[in-house]
Amino acid sequence: MSTDTAAPVTTASDAPARAREVLGVSRLTNTALTSWLHGLSGVDQVGAEARAASLGTRSIKTTSKAWAIDQAISMIDLTTLEGADTAGRVRGLAIRALTPDPSDLSTPRPAAVCVYGDMVGHARDVLGDSGVKVAAVATAFPSGRASLAVKLADVADAVSAGADEIDMVIDRGAFLSGDYLSVFDQIVAVKEACGDARLKVIMETGELVTYDNVRRASYLSMLAGGDFIKTSTGKVAPAATLPVTLIMLQAVRDWRGLTGQQVGVKPAGGIRTSKDAIKFLVTVHEVAGEDWLTNQWFRFGASSLLNDLILQRQKLATGAYSGADYIADDSPSLY
């Protein structure tokens, strides 16, 4: 790794220039990227899993728990990514984001609503300038198997429909076959197409096989100018596990040390309970630090997590365990 040059926050166009600087090369080649990525220290698998497990045992009580629940709600990207999504369902989800718990208006709003690109307009209509962002998945989500031109058109379409954030998937096939430069170039191109929209780079860690690959993909995504690194699409199991998120949090922490640029982290998929969410918050605090404990730099990609957080919030407010009768039922209608 090159020495710390404290580069300023980059825009899309100067990502290759900064990459050359970080790598200490005059021309960005796949060989240079490979030797840099493979020069990163390996992940101690047993150690990472043990550390994640030990962070998961922290007991969070009373006022801290209340804070954590509100914080977690405000970090949710409320997601619906189904083939059966309708305009009505997306509007319903957006209304849910504006008023997560109609029985308690002090409940914070989720950070964003995350939908497919063609649904952005419907979400935008409802959310307006409420402060709840609209995130769109793009680049042939979830597989990412399309030509670059199609991927860029997908991104441009979502941005022009009013998306504040774009969730792209990397080309896992290229990554796994060692064609890092192609992955890098695609991210740079997508970032360019995003304009002012923030770019979340989905690495689909469930397909990357090893923790070493997760670390490499994290660095590669940050090097190419991603504003967020995201674990998964939610369509592949395992999705967001705690050890994987821990490794990504280490990566963003070290990246800021290296370049001065802060990058966000978004675990997505499989986080369903408040207990899980709090484990992630503990890990964020202990690994990356307090700077990441805002929805500007940490998000949960989740659909059912909000319900459980609201149940726990009601439990704290009323002193009695709550039930599904007391939260909005946003499962798809059968009629």
Binding site: T318, A320, Y321, S322, G323, A324, D325, Y326
Partner: protein, 319 residues
Amino acid sequence: MSTRTTQTRTTQTRKTPGKGTSPDRVDVRKTYKLYIGGAFPRSESGRSYEVYTTGRSPKFLANAAQGSRKDARDAVVAARKAQPGWAGATAYNRGQVLYRVAEVMESRRAQFVSEVRAAEGLTPTRAEATVSAAIDRWVWYAGWSDKYAQVLGGLNPVAGPFFNISAPEPTGVVAALAPQSSSLLGLVSVLAPIIVSGNTSVVLASQDRPVPAITLAEALATSDVPGGVVNLITGHTAEIAPWLASHRDVNAIDLTGAADVEGLTWGDLEATAATNLKRVLRPAGTTATATEPDFTTEPGLDRLEAFLETKTVWHPKGR
């Protein structure tokens, strides 16, 4: 390590030839656990409490898991999850499953008899009779599974060209405080009428006599009752009951076991249960000091009916 153990045992067995059980054999002591969602977990609190026999000189019997409010919460989650499937099973099928429980209990009769004897301080003859009555109670309710709807529901005469049909449906998740004295027959008499109609249950076993209840859970686990339909918590009734009474995902509560529990007023539980309009089955007796009913008599349909909702449908009769 296992090899060494075997060798030691072999040597010891050789020292006492000709005997069925070696006096040197290490006891296999049982850990009594909870029954939640078809599994037997320890209490999340890690606590346990001592259980003694009933009689003139109480003897140590077992260390039972001391369930906490969080165990009760987990049990409610398991019961809620199992409820649609159990209610969706045909009445005929539920009847068969209940009958199967009787079969499995019958095959463990000796164990039940000795545990009921120890727990309730009964004579061998009375313990036998109690276990028989408990097994017969399953059969009795099993028979009702596809019949109570005819008795409790039916076609209502109305002044108009309509069919008007009332059908009883299960209430949902029912919490039950099992009777404190009648550790097996009372428990079965409370549990069977809850689940026969398609409700799922969270049962707080008798605080001082939980052992027969744990064995019943083992019988249930091996008798086609889907996991989560019956969840059994052992522990202090006064500690856990208020949490079940206030739980907003519990649709009904049976307060039978609130009688004679120190530190627990059933009226308070009933008031708490009203916060989400739970159905409440009061303990027997009309005064504040409730009593435990006599479970040896034929039960009738009162308990079954207490946990049913009647749905009435109007249907036009036109040609």
